[in-house]
Symmetry: C2
Subunit: 219 residues, 2 copies
């Protein structure tokens, strides 16, 4: 199949928009999540992020990347102020509303209201959850590390509460996020639903890994 | 729909295997990529990673998380030694082979040979690409940052070469990774193909974002 080869020089000669689309496509599929926060006055904020990633299970840490000067700067300000935020998986039922949170609304406007999603609160967590989200969790910020190479920040939080549709949780702890219609993102602006190929067992040398049935007991 | 609520105490009381499955499912869909490296003797190494993420387009930076003591420690040693590595998107055609690279082979054995994938080389890059991968790129390591919270490392590289199936590249630079059958991962062991919902235009306040056609000119 014909392939295109870009070297460093051709990368440098691209327009910044072309380059942003191209480079954003290279890492593969990305997670689609909404981060919910509130400020000192209780004003809620909601912003979509495609840069949220698993960092470790013990302690339960999740990271995300942000630009301090971006449209989602209120998210950062609120996290610094309150120490708390929620992460809410985006599903097929509301992915267009989730995308719309990336519009540049004023600081005194809540994206919840503008895009038509519902804030939801639990005890001990000041940050709002998204009621419509079927898999969501609250975090306490642990570390904000500057990445000097491109002036971004790595924000790391520890999970304190998980709220998840019971039927999606399998007997070994795996959450079937596909059954909750969680979507994936590619590039800057493409949303995707998924179809499971299979779960597959831990790989061992010189042995074929076996398919793991989704239902029933797990060996 | 019935939901389950885990608080910090119930998280702490879980077995480590259950907890690993649960927490790994929370961040949403993950990218599926193979990292290719070689050592000073030219011995190739190949390892699957689900923690690779976009960090920025200008400069073109990609990050990934790893544990220094994990089965993929040879990847880290080789990156430190040679400064170079490749990232290769995993497609439906070889996802089982890609998964098999996570088996604990000895340091003098090449995963390429064991799992049945083909190393491929270009000028100026000592690290091997995966011939079977349809979207792949080479990087020079820029920074290895310890994350003290859980003794992991954030490895950041700058993209120096991109090799991509021509037909997947759209007129605005977006790469249709779905058309190249790139897969997504959820949790520790579940692989998924995707179906595009839509591309959608940049969100603006009080305006509905429009679908972007995949083919033809982009406004």
């Amino acid at each position: 199949m014909p392939t295109q080869h870009f070297d460093l020089q051709s990368l440098n000669e691209m327009t910044s928009r072309y380059r942003a689309q191209l480079i954003n496509s290279l890492s593969g599929f990305k997670s689609a999540n909404l981060i919910g926060t509130c400020n000192a006055q209780g004003q809620t904020n909601l912003a979509i992020f495609s840069s949220i990633f698993h960092l470790g299970a013990s302690p339960a840490l999740v990271g995300f990347i942000m630009r301090p000067d971006s449209v989602s700067r209120h998210t950062l300000e609120n996290i610094k102020l309150t120490g708390q935020y929620t992460i809410n998986q985006v599903s097929e039922d509301f992915w267009r509303k989730a995308h719309q949170t990336s519009a540049r609304y004023d600081g005194d406007e809540s994206e919840f209201e503008h895009v038509g999603l519902t804030p939801e609160f639990i005890d001990d967590v000041t940050a709002p959850f998204v009621k419509e989200s079927r898999i969501k969790y609250a975090l306490t910020v642990k570390e904000i590390t500057p990445i000097k190479l491109n002036n971004t920040l790595l924000v790391i939080g520890e999970i304190t509460h998980i709220i998840c549709e019971s039927s999606a949780i399998k007997s070994d702890g795996y959450i079937d996020i596909e059954s909750a219609n969680t979507v994936a993102i590619s590039g800057l602006d493409s949303y995707h639903s998924t179809t499971r190929l299979s779960r597959i067992s831990y790989a061992k040398p010189h042995k074929e890994a076996l398919d793991i049935p989704l239902h029933g007991p797990i060996e």
